[in-house]
Amino acid sequence: MLRFNKDQKYICFDFETCHLNLVHQSNKPWQLSYLVAQGSDILEEVDNYIYWDDLNISQEAKDITHFNEYIYKQKAADAAQALEKFEKYIYDQNYLIIGQNLLGFDVYIHNIYRKLLNKKSDFSYTNRIIDTNCIAKAIKKNLKYQKEEDFICWQYKLNDFREKGLKTSIKAQLKEYKIDFDENMLHNSMYDVRMNFKIFLKQIWQIEI
């Protein structure tokens, strides 16, 4: 079980994007943040602002993510280099991949990112994903993972599971786990990643995975 496996390697990631369309290549990822960990020890934190010539962020996304053009212009760096380093981790079989709503959003943003750089789709890493949004639903609904089932399929079931009043956002989980957080910082992907990893470390004590 992960709670006892202190050697397990993790990458926890999050994208910030221009809007919420999962197929349109105008939805460029402009921030990619991740942390690399072993057990509960964080070994590295990476916060990339990704440079695109023609970034067009919706007003709604700007408001939610507190997009700051000045910071973006100062920090934005080469898109290909950022992706290359990130993919060394996610395509490494030794890493489990953690994130909030990865199955419903971020894997598709990663795919857009690849397409923008003329790379073919490659979702082969997705069977090592642990989606904290799905796990939160399982914990709340007291659904246990059965070992004979594919873990990724079980998460997909949860990903599409909707119930009125079921709150599983990062903010809701932080409140529930009584983790101190700054609400104004949420939706900055680096901050979200840090908070998300704390949530994950709590979750593995509530569910047997």
Binding site: N21, V23, F123, T126
Partner: protein, 253 residues
């Protein structure tokens, strides 16, 4: 690879029409028959969710000398009992001949008149004839998909026919996982597999028009939708098109 066309008669599922190729315009909607003519297809496989477009498709294919293979995509449940509501999944019933088309009509009428838009396997079995009909298991929304990717519990009785399993590759994140499930099932049950491609629009760039159409057809209330917030889960591929079929037909899945 089988191109499985769908027309706008399957409401909310496709932006392709069955229009006469001569009457289509450059900036108008794309016709399946125009695509067929332009690409020298001698056969069209049309998989629809209703029979509304059947006559038009039949008439047009006769006029143009194109063979029409018609399949009806149908919702199935383990039984008609309310407890089995969460066993809904899709099958495709293909007509092999004229008699098969008549049987399709009976099956469709049964599903929409005696039941509320679905059938159970007992009713399908009563109407089934292997000489006239062929059963296809679609890649998405089949019992395999539902059992592995949703909390539905589907127990299909396929003993009365020899189903053909369809596999697709549309760059959805779970395609490769689902494909393995289908291959495993086919291997255990000794069933035939066909590579296929669901086609809802002509070119990849048309995916945005299709997305817009889906948003318009979406009847659920709640959040406002736009292309920047489409609220269409897993709408993340532009591969459900003829252009993609042409590309993939030259490569192995």
């Amino acid at each position: 690879m089988l191109p499985l066309f769908k027309s706008h008669y399957s409401i909310g599922k496709s932006i392709l029409t069955l229009d006469d190729p001569k009457k289509t315009t450059e900036d108008g909607s794309d016709s399946i028959f125009k695509i067929a003519k332009d690409n020298s297809l001698t056969r069209i496989i049309l998989v629809e969710d209703t029979l509304i477009g059947f006559f038009e498709a039949f008439k047009r294919s006769k006029e143009l000398g194109i063979q029409l293979v018609f399949g009806l995509r149908l919702s199935m449940r383990n039984s008609s009992l309310p407890d089995d509501e969460n066993s809904q999944h899709k099958i495709i019933v293909f007509a092999k001949n004229a008699n098969g088309c008549k049987l399709l009509n009976k099956i469709y009428s049964k599903a929409f008149c005696d039941f509320s838009g679905f059938l159970d396997y007992r009713s399908l079995k009563d109407l089934w004839n292997n000489n006239d009909l062929k059963l296809g298991i679609p890649f998405y929304d089949s019992f395999l998909y539902m059992n592995h990717f949703s909390f539905n519990n589907c127990l299909p009785d396929l003993s009365f026919c020899e189903p053909h399993l369809l596999i697709e590759d549309n760059n959805l994140a779970f395609d490769y996982i689902l494909k393995q499930k289908v291959l495993d099932f086919a291997s255990k049950s000794n069933l035939t597999i066909h590579k296929s491609k669901s086609i809802y629009y002509k070119n990849k760039k048309d995916s945005i028009a299709f997305q817009t159409y889906k948003m318009i057809c979406n009847r659920s209330m709640g959040k406002e939708r736009s292309l920047q917030r489409p609220e269409l889960s897993h709408f993340c591929s532009d591969e459900f098109c003829f252009e993609s079929w042409k590309e993939q037909s030259n490569v192995t899945i």
